[in-house]
Point group: C2
């Protein structure tokens, strides 16, 4: 069993793997702050060198921002692309850290050893799980397991400004059979999970106008239309009493969950009470016939993200404002068409405007939901590999938010993606005292080795 | 006819009356700006000297802020108090003035001569109409028409911080049979009017809390309660489809207009279309069976004055906020009890809160409506005097806003008030290029002479 040899090699070399990760964690590659630009370049160069040591033809490609690391290696029919990012979030407020964020340390935690450092989980620790699996594979087999492209970004935490142009310019070089994206987590800290459904997002900003100037409520109160009232009525009407969204045609393209997925989700035994209880809530607020897990993974939403109008300072001002504003967003699922929903939403609002009122629109984000085609054999291989490693069935799960890179691979390279990772909910990514469990790092490496054995 | 002699004296001495007003207007008595404190004192002293020249025992009384001018004169059974204020609004933006705001000038306007200066209408020109009427009276009769107390404030434009303590400390000295307050205007620029109904005001600020922190709409959207949605539903429900306010017991103490007042209002031939049209509106937004004039003078309101919550900056943030805020106010009429309405409103809101939500309250202003007892003979005397001078029936009118001094006289001195004045809607009080029509000044003086003749 050569897989056993690979796994033993991984186990034996864990201290060295941690040393390498610590080297990378010591580089403060904060992409959003120009002061750290040389450090981002240094992190890219470190990865290029490490990939070259694994036999890859690797280079750091300049962009208007931070470099992209691209490496090619291995041979075979099957061509996999691996994506991760080497940049990290800023560290402020620094005072809330227990130690220097760029001086990594192994610490004993209540649930085992943790790697404490900025980027330990997001995403340096996660991307290194893949490289360490390749290292062990190479040591046992002398070669890489298949044809591989490694693509590591340095701008993920700062909006990826160079990403789309780079994908367009390097379409042929980067397009593989499937992308493996390692930037997600375990399900509820224990169950391995592969994200196959990502919600889309549509943002709208509206300004309701009534009178041609702010009015005094003593002079006009009662007789004049109040745009805050008009806005409140519109926003209040987006859902009916059962939580169903009332905008016509909103549910076009929303399908019921396939039975196979539904039973996988049921098997996850999601702790709905804990999910809500952790943020001080107890009763799910969405459609009354859906569980919270369905609500956040497979159902669309209409949410109010911001409202403002009139006097909002200290004290009181008896103003009837001339205008009122709201930012509204829709999380989209399945085949919902963002453009159609924008159109239907605007028409629905406009039909409700009383006399003397008008609405002004500003469109924001507009991305369809991502639904992965799980017929690529990599999916079932990954599910099996993860299940073997973690001793628990792996599930195809949803993700309530959006992970733009998966959509970009689909849009610009025509390539499906498989998202899996080993983060835990308490990793404090983007926050002080970020950590990555040594168990996650270790079993993450082993998970990739198992998956590569199935795909090789 | 000695009234004719008084009126002729007024007509003949108009140039001198204007000279005196201009002297007063040249004093920049801006009460809110400490830099003008000496000017406020100078304006008070100027008025003391003028009142002394009319035979009053007059003095400027120090307060922690600007002085109060108090003068006593005349004899007789009947004791009238006259109230005005000698302080003025700031003048900024100065660049929008056509000339120095404190260098008054007579200018020819499209509708006749105007007095251009800060304070020309609010309130120096108005208060001088009364003093000039007394001057002419004294010239003809040799005495003042009746027992008079003159009470001129210097802090009306800066929140009257010294007023209530001064009223309490000088209750006996200031209490008369009735107060005459000259700080209002003609009805629609032409009809003399006496304000007998002032709406009260109740302010409430509420914060709706849901989750214990801001949530990400990708992670929680659909499942978590959104306080902006809860707030929108509450605010949207304050009125039903007919514009009637839905809060239980809200209309307790609201009476229908007496027939006599209703017919006076109908005779005013209020131009509802112009009233709304001037601010870009065309359809009244209040109770469907009421005219705009009723809405603003005799009907209570529930208005949203400010709403805020979530992300309100540029761009977009997919936040589900932990809290949402609104400032709401109620204009009150008749016998509505502000404390009871606050109680009913809070109970009504709290009954609508879904699971996991709470509300936090901050009370703001709380003043009952003012309804003048028009059985004092001064009211019918004033209505007759005004009708004779202006050639048009004078009406008892309402005022949608609040004029706090009338309520303070009632509360602290037990004294009713009669509010009448000669301002016009285009006087630009509080704005650049304030003016007062010479016609209003002249006929204002004559109006007081006629009224004093009836009351003497």
């Amino acid at each position: 069993m050569r897989l056993d040899a690979v796994l033993s090699t991984i186990d034996a070399a864990l201290p060295q793997a941690l040393d390498r990760l610590f080297d990378l964690l010591r580089i403060p590659s904060i992409s959003t702050d120009p002061a750290f630009k040389p450090d981002c370049a240094r992190a890219a160069d470190w990865l290029v060198a490490d990939l070259q040591s694994l036999g890859f033809e690797a280079s750091a490609r300049p962009t208007p921002g931070h470099p992209m690391v691209v490496a090619h290696g291995g041979t075979g029919e099957r061509h996999l692309l691996f994506y991760g990012h080497y940049d990290v979030q800023p560290v402020d407020p620094l005072a809330l850290w227990d130690r220097d964020p760029f001086d990594p340390e192994l610490q004993d935690g209540p649930k085992g050893q943790v790697i404490r450092a900025r980027g330990a989980s997001d995403d340096k620790g996660q991307l290194m799980t893949f490289l360490e699996a390749l290292r062990a594979w190479k040591e046992v087999h002398g070669t890489l397991p298949c044809r591989l492209t490694i693509f590591l970004e340095g701008e993920e935490e700062s909006g990826s400004p160079s990403l789309i142009p780079f994908l367009k310019d390097h379409k042929d070089e980067l397009t593989a059979d499937i992308a493996l994206i390692c930037d997600t987590g375990l399900f509820q800290d224990t169950a391995p999970a592969i994200v196959t459904m990502l919600r889309g997002l549509l943002g709208e900003e509206m300004t309701i106008h009534a009178a041609n100037k702010d009015l005094h409520s003593g002079m006009y109160g009662g007789a004049a239309q109040n745009p805050l009232r008009v806005l409140s009525r519109i926003l209040a009407g987006m859902q009916d009493a059962t939580g169903r969204i009332t905008i016509p045609h909103f549910y076009d393209g929303v399908s019921e969950l396939p039975d196979a997925i539904r039973s996988q989700w049921q098997a996850l035994a999601f702790d709905h009470a804990k999910f809500l209880g952790d943020v001080g809530l107890s009763v799910p607020a969405g459609e009354e016939d859906r569980t919270p897990l369905e609500m956040i993974w497979s159902r669309p939403t209409a949410e109010i993200n911001g409202v403002w109008g009139g006097y909002t300072g200290d004290g009181f001002k008896t103003v009837l404002p001339a205008e009122a504003h709201a930012k509204v967003s829709f999380r989209l699922v399945g085949e919902q068409d963002p453009d159609a929903i924008r159109r239907h939403f605007r028409a629905w609002v406009e039909a409700q405007l009383p006399a003397d009122c008008s609405v002004e629109w500003q469109g924001h984000g507009n991305s369809p939901a991502g639904v992965m085609a799980i017929d690529d054999p990599a999916f079932e291989a990954a599910r099996a590999a993860l299940g073997e490693e973690w001793g628990r069935a792996a599930a195809y799960v949803g993700c309530g938010g959006s992970i733009p890179i998966a959509g970009y691979f689909k849009t610009y390279l025509g390539m499906d993606a498989m998202l899996l990772g080993f983060g835990r909910d308490d990793d404090q990514i983007h926050s002080p005292n970020e950590k990555y469990d040594v168990e996650c790092f270790h079993k993450g490496i082993r998970s990739w080795a198992r998956l590569l054995a199935k795909l090789a």
